[in-house]
């Protein structure tokens, strides 16, 4: 990653470098200090990615990063209106709610998870736990991921979840990431979720904005370890306002016979949304499902980059991303599938479909397959299309008005993804957000 944009985004870069000097005085476990040092060196060399970096070709970060940011809020406990938490709740779904405000775990606003074998902690409080020491920073390539590097160097807050071997989490853990700021804020929360052998759980993450008065840039990094025979359902529900910019890096590492399901839904609002979702299938008989739905509007830029890395034989990956593009929004889908030499009998499927509603909306869809094994089944496809005029007319000819007819067809388009969501309440919630997003 020799290309850099440090020159353009000097001030934030300098600030991060300076922050690190200050931070290095904080006492932390040795291994963590070493990892931060590694992240720092990588970031120092590479800076923030410019358009010259292949993976950032379509995203010009300069306007988003050139502000004069604070990197933390002054108050210890930022106040959040109760309505924000209420509105982010998923109706009728019984969950443990965990609230993070500007990345800070808020015990005062969160439920206590009182199940044996399930641990939910602020990330730095977990630093001495064996699961943290074993898995933290183990799977993310800091030399290739600019944002993960700077996050590793500087993160202060975030979430640690551990589901011990054989534990079946009784109800979903709903993590509310709320951000709010009165001055431009650059946040770098970090999470690590460790799912033990034969453990099973659902983690739902909602990203919402509590009426920020200033721009908030979130550089969020999450690492997920899914042990042998474990099963994790992992949801991202992304809302936000024009003042929000998000870069999510999600690094998933799976061992044999495990199943990881990622459901990603994003809605109009955030000016910039970049999702990196990397999944390593590093054991036999692994199953990974990636379902994405992006409904974008306004001048939003929504960029989904995924890497599915088949390292061992007899694994299955299944990826379906659907985009509904309104107004003048821009979408990017880049899906890489690697099938390594050892990964015989791989079954890899990838599909990206886009429904263009705005005449000025654009989408760039790029599947990339690199296959080094010979006995594999891989397929990929991508489409960009408009409303089917005959279908629209059919609905109208039964008395259904233009707006409702369009909404029905959008729901129908999204259905292949929404129907995959195993929790009916989450499905309803997302369908409701689609309706709201269409009106917005």
């Amino acid at each position: 990653m020799e290309n850099t944009a440090t020159q353009i985004i000097n001030s934030l870069y300098d600030q991060c470098i300076a922050d690190f000097e200050v931070r290095s005085n904080t006492a932390e476990p040795e291994a963590l200090t070493a990892l931060r040092q590694k992240g720092f060196q990588n970031f120092k060399k590479a800076g923030f990615p410019s358009n010259k970096v292949e993976d950032w070709k379509y995203v010009n970060l300069t306007p988003f990063l050139k502000e004069s940011f604070a990197t933390a809020t002054e108050e210890e406990l930022v106040e959040v209106p109760e309505s924000v938490i209420k509105n982010a709740a998923i109706p009728h779904l019984d969950v443990w709610t965990i609230v993070l405000v500007n990345g800070v775990f808020r015990k005062d606003l969160s439920d206590t998870v009182n199940q044996e074998g399930v641990f939910v902690l602020p990330i730095l409080e977990a630093a001495s736990r064996p699961a943290f020491q074993k898995h933290f920073g183990t799977y993310t390539d800091l030399a290739k991921n600019h944002f993960a590097a700077v996050n590793t160097a500087l993160f202060r807050d975030g979430l640690f979840i551990e589901i011990k071997n054989n534990a079946i989490v009784e109800k979903p853990i709903h993590v509310l990431h709320i951000n709010t700021a009165n001055e431009p804020l650059f946040l770098q929360p970090r999470s690590l979720y460790v799912v033990g052998v034969s453990a099973n759980g659902s983690i739902i993450e909602s990203f919402v904005n509590a009426g920020a008065n200033a721009n908030v840039f979130v550089n969020n990094v999450a690492e997920i370890f899914v042990a042998e025979n474990a099963n994790l359902h992992h949801y991202y529900i992304q809302a936000g306002s024009e003042k929000n910019r998000y870069v999510h890096h999600t690094e998933v590492y799976q061992q044999q016979n495990s199943v990881y399901n990622n459901y990603k839904a994003s809605f109009p609002g955030t000016s910039l949304l970049r999702n990196n979702l990397n999944i390593a299938l590093d054991g036999e008989n692994v199953e990974s499902h990636l379902y994405g739905l992006y409904l974008s509007g306004g001048h939003q830029l929504v960029d989904n980059h995924t890497i599915v890395d088949h390292r061992k034989p007899h694994c299955q990956s299944n990826e379906l991303y659907k985009g509904v593009m309104k107004d003048e929004s821009t979408g990017v889908f880049n899906g890489k599938i690697f099938v390594r030499k050892d990964a015989q009998k791989t079954n890899a499927f990838q599909q990206n479909n886009n429904l263009m509603l705005g005449r000025k909306a654009v989408v760039d869809s790029k599947p990339q397959l690199e296959i080094f094994a010979d006995d594999v089944k891989c397929s990929h496809g991508s489409t960009v299309g408009q409303f089917n005029a005959d279908a629209l007319f059919y609905l109208k000819s039964r008395g259904i008005g233009e707006e409702k007819a369009r909404a029905l067809l959008v729901h129908a388009f999204a259905f292949d993804v929404t129907e995959k969501i195993p929790l009916a309440e989450v499905q309803d919630h997302i369908n409701h957000l689609i309706e709201e997003g269409l009106k917005a």
């Binding site: 005959d390 059919y394 000819s397 008395g399 729901h411």
Partner: protein
């Protein structure tokens, strides 16, 4: 109920309806026959309001209102129904959700409150029975993977649910097996009343044995070239259309 006067319509600058007249009164059943490509489906589409057809002349009134001035959805809400020759498949839209939405839009137009869930279910059951429409199909996505005959039956099921004033059936009989034809016809006959009317577009006399029309018209080259009673259908079955083509005004004379 429906009054069409000198209707002209074209698609891609090609004139297809070339001055068509038709009067349909409440309680009547009209059959329209005619060779392939004569403009029967075009007439149905123009009446339903499909936007790739340009109406270049004439008038159409429906219950006294200028039909051509209304949006397709308003035409439907006002009581016009077209059973399509080729119903589209819409995966992901559930039949039931679709029907409920449609019914409520029609009701809202007529200043009625949304239908109650219980009443809706009762009606579903009743109408499913009427046209022997399998409830497994009713629960599926709209027409997705339906056989040709199942799609046609779904059209009639929708018709029964929406209770329109004027129904246009575009070759609903084509592709139906003999039992389905009997069932669909029986359904239509039960729905017939002094208040509604039907236009049956068909190629086959057979349908008209089940649903006996008051009038039979022959559409040829964009015009009604002959009208009569049900005996005309028998005559057409026997003689074909050639004898009418000779007497029809040729397109070039216009």
């Amino acid at each position: 109920m429906l009054s069409i006067k000198n209707l002209k319509a074209s698609v891609d600058d090609k004139e297809i309806l070339k001055g068509l007249d038709l009067e349909v009164k409440a309680g009547e059943v009209h059959a329209i026959m005619g060779p392939n490509g004569s403009g029967k489906s075009t007439l149905a589409s123009v009446l339903a309001g499909k936007d790739n057809y340009e109406v270049t002349g004439g008038q159409v009134t429906f219950d006294g209102k200028d039909l051509m001035d209304m949006s397709p959805e308003d035409r439907a809400r006002a009581g016009l129904f077209l059973a399509f020759q080729y119903p589209v498949e819409i995966p992901g839209v559930s039949n039931i959700n679709f029907l409920k939405t449609a019914m409520n839009e029609v009701r809202a137009y007529n200043n009625l409150p949304p239908i109650e869930a219980k009443e809706f279910l009762r009606m579903m059951k009743e109408k499913q029975k009427l046209v022997e429409f399998d409830s497994a199909l009713a629960n599926r996505s709209l027409n997705e993977g339906f056989s040709g005959g199942e799609k046609k039956r779904n059209e009639i099921f929708q018709l029964a649910m929406l209770e329109p004033k004027l129904s246009i059936l575009d070759e609903t009989d084509s592709g139906l097996d003999i039992d389905a034809l009997r069932i669909v016809s029986r359904g239509v006959n039960k729905l017939r009343s002094g208040k509604n009317a039907f236009i049956l577009i068909t190629h086959y006399q057979r349908l008209l044995e089940y649903i006996v029309p008051d009038y039979v018209h022959v559409l040829y080259n964009g015009q009604i070239v002959k009208s009569g009673t049900k005996e005309l259908a028998l005559e057409l079955e026997e003689k074909g259309y050639d004898w009418l083509k000779e007497s029809a005004p040729a397109a070039s004379f216009h």
